[in-house]
């Protein structure tokens, strides 16, 4: 049993970190005891990753408020290399390995065993062999990393951390991409490392894993520490953790709407999609859902649950391969095999990443507004400038885009106004069903309210709206019905009036 009176290895006090317009962390405290596995849980956007970036020096000392005490000494890291020197190693969700290099080359990348610039390969390989034995990976040091599966790559990352004399290991969602038995192996390894005195911080959404290995749990919500639970002094139920994660009160307000739900517009049945590169991986598994006229339907789920992939694959097969399933609009099967056909058949998809996928940043508001439906403002391929301008002005007014003129480049607009331009573009195609992927990501509270108002107006006009969001309060505040997605499948469906965050969370963590 562990000694709880031991001096903690890490103490973070009153950490506050602000970004323009957002307080990402607000007076957060985190204490990790020596030799324990400390789980850090919370919803998307609760501030877990930000906290770990503060700890590892990605956000250098001085860019945040508060103190970090590591091994009894106050520390001020100005970069990752500083924190690594002290033995704090972070393993990110997206692995940071060079696929075309060998295991040994990856492990010693940046800290090569070399004399006068010449690498000592026998020594490198020998040490790699020892490290691989420690993490229980039976591969040769010269094996190329891209030939390994994700689970084994994860182990290489841990071996790399061990090579750096790690004292505190931080794992960000290490099992998110792993199969069940790989996850178990990884968790066992964490327990072994703990026995050797290495402390770790485990960020995870999977509460069963957390319950299995964690000695204590810190729950973050909206950038604040909600609770720190000691797993040894009391039995912590998953319900308790979920309650702390989601909180009770609604943080934001949503515009009122009286739903007038009409006929079923879009009906997707048995939708299956496979990963475009890893062809053996099924990304969407038999998903079925429907949207009616005047209805706002939410799709909840964690990152990586397949929500975006579902939407993109529906919209002109813009994602994945071997897509199967049927799409019906007003009871008639429609062709969505290209973006052009999907648009012509009444679908619109507002992407999650508006800068990379939604807008041509170098071009102005007008040109972005008409891009998806140029045919409407042109005759025989020649654009009618006056008409195009009128269209742009109309949508600018209707959606309240704040810009000096429609000839302003969209790169100069704020996030909220950029999002309104993307919405303008899709409204101009006059769709029946709009799929909005994270429509309020990265925009401020005032603009969010405006976007919600627009969504309500669209539903009021009899359009069907599908809203994908990682912010559960937003879905609860806006949607008539909510589908919960997990691991590529629809895990459940809730009426808006019956849904609450606990129910959604438990559908996710238990499916």
């Amino acid at each position: 049993m562990k000694n709880i009176h031991m001096q903690p290895i890490l103490e973070m006090h009153g950490i506050t970190k602000s970004f323009p317009g957002v307080k990402a962390l607000d007076d957060v405290n985190l204490t990790v005891a020596r030799g324990e596995i400390h789980a850090l849980v919370g919803e998307n956007g609760a501030g877990k990753s930000t906290l770990m970036k503060v700890l590892s020096g990605v956000y250098p000392h001085g860019s945040y408020d508060g103190d970090i005490v590591f091994e009894g000494k106050p520390v001020a890291f100005s970069g990752i290399s500083d924190s690594e020197r002290d033995g704090i190693i972070i393993i990110h969700q997206e692995l940071a390995l060079v696929p075309l290099l060998s295991i040994a080359e990856n492990i010693f990348l940046g800290s090569e065993i070399a004399r006068g610039g010449v690498v000592d390969w026998p020594e490198t390989n020998a040490r790699t062999e020892t490290l691989l034995k420690t993490v229980g990976l039976r591969e040769k040091p010269v094996t190329r990393v891209d030939t390994l599966g994700v689970g084994k790559q994860q182990l290489v990352e841990i071996a790399k951390a061990l090579s750096k004399k790690v004292k505190l290991l931080i794992l960000d969602e290490p099992t998110a991409a792993l199969q069940e038995n790989d996850s178990q192996k990884l968790l066992d390894l964490l327990l072994e490392l703990k026995a050797e005195g290495i402390s770790s911080v485990l960020i995870s959404h999977k509460l069963n894993e957390v319950s299995r290995v964690a000695d204590s749990i810190t729950v973050l919500r909206d950038g604040k520490t909600v609770s720190t639970l000691d797993c040894h002094s009391e039995k912590i139920s998953e319900e308790r953790i979920i309650r702390d994660m989601v909180g009770r009160d609604m943080a934001h307000r949503y515009p009122e709407r009286t739903p007038e739900i009409g006929e079923t517009l879009l009906e997707v049945s048995d939708w299956n999609v496979w990963h475009p590169l890893h062809t053996e991986r099924q990304v969407i598994r038999g998903a079925s859902f429907r949207v009616a006229a005047g209805e706002v339907v939410g799709i909840a789920g964690l990152m990586g649950s397949g929500r975006t992939e579902l939407a993109m694959s529906l919209f002109g097969k813009s994602y994945g391969r071997n897509i199967s399933g049927t799409v019906k609009l007003r009871g008639k099967e429609i062709d969505v095999s290209t973006v052009g056909r999907a648009v012509a058949n009444g679908l619109a998809y507002v992407t999650e990443d508006r800068k990379a996928l939604g807008l041509v940043l170098e071009e102005d508001v007008m040109r972005n507004t008409t891009l998806a439906n140029l045919a409407r403002v042109s005759k025989n391929g020649v654009i009618n400038n006056a008409e195009e301008r009128q269209v742009a002005e109309r949508y600018r007014k209707a959606l309240g885009v704040r810009t000096p003129s429609v000839f302003q480049k969209v790169m100069n607009l704020s996030g909220g106004n950029q999002q309104k331009v993307v919405l303008s573009k899709w409204l101009f195609t006059e769709p029946d069903v709009l799929v909005l992927d994270e429509p309020t990501r990265g925009i401020d509270v005032g603009a969010k309210f405006e976007i919600y108002t627009i969504i309500n107006e669209l539903a009021g006009q009899g359009k069907g709206v599908v809203m994908i969001s990682s912010e559960m309060p937003e879905l609860l505040g806006m949607c008539d019905r909510i589908y919960v997605m997990n691991e590529g499948a629809i895990a459940g469906e809730l009426k808006g009036s019956e849904a609450n965050q606990e129910k959604i969370m438990s559908m996710i963590v238990r499916s």
Binding site: F315, G316, S318, T338, V339, G340, A342, V343, Y349, T351, A356, L357, G358, L359, V360, L361, E362, E363, R367, L371, A372, L374, A375, S378, G381, V382, I383, N385, A386, R389, G400, R402, T403, P404, S405, F407, K425
Partner: protein, 403 residues
């Protein structure tokens, strides 16, 4: 909401005609280009003791640069779409060779040879565009391969020999002149009238455009600039027309070049295809997710480039009155340089036809001027290289300053 619209009005008012200083700052690049051309011309006019502006030399300047300008039109589209075409020089040589063999060895009439060669060029462009658009092979690689392949084929078609001379009617493609309809001869009244008409049309269109923009409150050019710019351009056109008229009038290629420039300006400014090419180059993924057939557009852009390269090849062969295995060597570099000097962006989505044409003439005047001065080819290359670098540094500097 009222607050918002008040703010909008305010900013809209600010957006209208601004002070001369800030306007100059915002459009440094646009004026800079023209100014650079004027300065370079003035410089060579002085150092060559007036040889540069002599009617014979002006005519030469047009003949020498026509094929670069014509290819720059296509290259601008390719570069705006986010690609590059290194094969155009070899295509010039290859098409010239094929035309020569058809004209000289098979004695086919030019009216058959010219369309056939244009189609051949289009097919060459399409063949390269196919791999680039549908197989996503980088255009640099595909057209580098094309550059080697078509240079090799040029040698093979010509059997390493020069083939010529051509029938007069074919030479007319390049060295022919628009006859004087009024029979005066010198000065060529037709040329003067054509020049004056062109200037008048340009001014008329500029005024109409400005009036329309004023109505919408989106005109930001101070009147002084507007008047000076258009006055200068009109005067330059009339003056150059007169100069050309005192020699032999307008060369046929000048007409070809002017018509094509006008057509491609229209294409890029006013058509859905042009608009989509800019969107494709600006953000391919966003364009694709907006339902734009990005692959087909890329493909067509290259087919178009191939056709223009073929036209350039015909004009070049006609001018030399022979097809040589060396024809078109390193043309691609001049063409690409012209487009970048003209302000296009390597990353795609940005660039103007007018810029590319002015860029081509900057290169052309420098070539011509330095040749008159008898500067060696060694120095010429160095100077041209530095001008290209300076133009792009100027661009990047401007961009960094504004953000």
């Amino acid at each position: 909401m009222t607050e918002v619209s008040a703010r909008e009005r305010e900013t809209a008012a600010e957006g209208a005609v601004v002070s001369i200083g800030s306007h100059l700052k915002n459009h440094l690049r646009d004026y800079g280009m023209l100014l650079a051309l004027v300065v370079i011309m003035a410089f060579f006019q002085v150092v060559t003791d007036g040889t540069l502006m002599r009617p014979v030399n002006l005519t030469n300047l047009v003949l020498q640069n026509s094929y670069i300008v014509i290819m720059a039109l296509g290259m601008l589209l390719v570069i705006v779409a986010g690609h590059i075409d290194l094969s155009v020089g070899s295509v010039v040589g290859f098409v010239g060779a094929v035309a020569a063999v058809m004209l000289v060895q098979y004695e086919l009439p030019p009216l058959v040879v010219i369309p056939a060669c244009l189609i051949l060029g289009m097919l060459i462009g399409a063949a390269q565009g196919y791999w680039i658009a549908y197989w996503r092979i980088p255009s640099f690689i595909v057209t580098l391969a094309g550059m080697l392949v078509f240079r090799g084929l040029t040698l093979w078609v010509l059997q390493g020999q020069s083939v010529g001379p051509f029938p007069r009617s074919f030479q007319g493609l390049s060295t022919g002149f628009v006859p004087d309809l009024f029979g005066v001869g010198r000065p060529n009244v037709t040329a003067i009238l054509l020049g004056a008409a062109t200037a008048a049309i340009l001014v008329f269109m500029a005024v109409r455009n400005r009036r329309r923009h004023m109505k919408y409150g989106i005109e930001d050019e101070p009147f002084v600039f507007f008047a000076a710019k258009n006055g200068l351009i009109a005067a330059a056109i009339v003056f150059l027309s007169y100069m050309l008229a005192t020699y032999r009038g307008f060369p046929n290629v000048l007409i070809t070049m002017a018509v094509l420039t006008a057509a491609y300006t229209f294409l890029t400014n006013s058509t859905t295809v042009g608009r989509r090419i800019y969107a494709l180059g600006g953000n391919e993924k966003a364009a694709k997710l907006s339902g734009i057939p990005t692959e087909r557009l890329t493909f067509l852009t290259f087919a178009n480039m191939g056709m223009l390269a073929a036209l350039a090849g015909l004009i070049f062969a006609a001018r030399l009155n022979t097809a040589t295995p060396k024809a078109g060597v390193a043309f691609e570099l001049d063409v690409i340089a012209a487009v970048f000097i003209g302000g296009a962006s390597m990353s795609g989505g940005v660039g103007k036809i007018v810029g590319a044409v002015v860029g081509a003439f900057i290169m052309g005047v420098m070539n011509n001027g330095m040749s008159i001065l008898g500067i060696g080819i060694d120095y010429q290359q160095v100077i041209k290289g530095l001008v290209l670098l300076a133009a792009v540094i100027f661009d990047v500097y401007n961009k960094n300053k504004s953000t």
